[in-house]
Assembly symmetry: C2
Homo-oligomer: 177 residues x 2
Amino acid sequence: MSTYHHGDLPAALLRAAGRTLERRGLAALSLREAARRAGVSHNAPYRHFPDREALLAALAAEGFAMLGERLRGQPGREMGEAYVRFALQQPQRFRLMFGGLVPMTKYPELRNAAQGAYQALIEAFKELPRPELAAAAAWSLVHGLSQLLLDGHFTHTDREAFVRDVLGVVRFAQRAA
Amino acid sequence: MSTYHHGDLPAALLRAAGRTLERRGLAALSLREAARRAGVSHNAPYRHFPDREALLAALAAEGFAMLGERLRGQPGREMGEAYVRFALQQPQRFRLMFGGLVPMTKYPELRNAAQGAYQALIEAFKELPRPELAAAAAWSLVHGLSQLLLDGHFTHTDREAFVRDVLGVVRFAQRAA
DNA sequence: ACCTGAACACCGTTCAAGT
DNA sequence: ACCTGAACACCGTTCAAGT
């Protein structure tokens, strides 16, 4: 048994950090905590992540990959609901992805993951005259709805029905403005 | 000259914290930093704010009040653009308001400020058949657009035109679903 | 009431050192 | 290459004390 505790410490750190994130929130997520959970010294992580931000970037990229999968599995009409469901099921991950803590410009793999998820939306609007605008509007809509729900700005007894109703009230123009 | 440096230390702390927030970001915003800038000892703030979260709550409430004023001054059609403009002009404040760092349930004055801003939107949709749904959808749309722009997910040369186009592509159903 | 200084338990990050 | 322990400068928060 070697002195190296893990065949894959980066993966172990990501798993530990992901668990801490959803269970105890972003505030509790530190490099030291992840190291502790992975059973290594408090600065072993620096061999694999240059700083805390890099760990957050990796977690966010994971999140975009998960989101992309969820969306891609859905028929167009239900994609919006799938987006909101993801946000509500993984609130802390979702906040990390959009909290502005990690500049996408610094992490190409994060940008790629995000664009991958966006692609799923764009696909769904292929048939409309201005698909890129409709997709941007649709993303804005479902993203804003998710965020405002998470923040508690909408308080309705039947959340699912509310989501359906809000999404149902919107039409994307069939003709260029 | 008394030993109390301020007639209104809470206000001084809020001003200092607001400056730090927009200039150096949320990460640099600490109670100790605000105390330093206000010229008091590092735990004088605890006389006025029970903890860091309470200071953030006050800053967020200020933000919703500012946003409400911006919206109320606008004719319906331009309200959405005013919302996005606010987010782009005060990015750090905007993120604080929606970052999930402050649970609205714990701060009634925060909830009131947020609802005040929402009221401006609801007013604008009075004439539609289901105004509350249209307002919720409109808020979601402009909020999501703001957030995604801040995060750098949309990269367009002419930002203002893009915002107009995205908002222009959406219609709110004239008839109940 | 309001403010201070010392103290405690946490961080992120750096450095010199071990295998 | 990969990991460790000591160290530094920061936090939030609590406490006993001063005016």
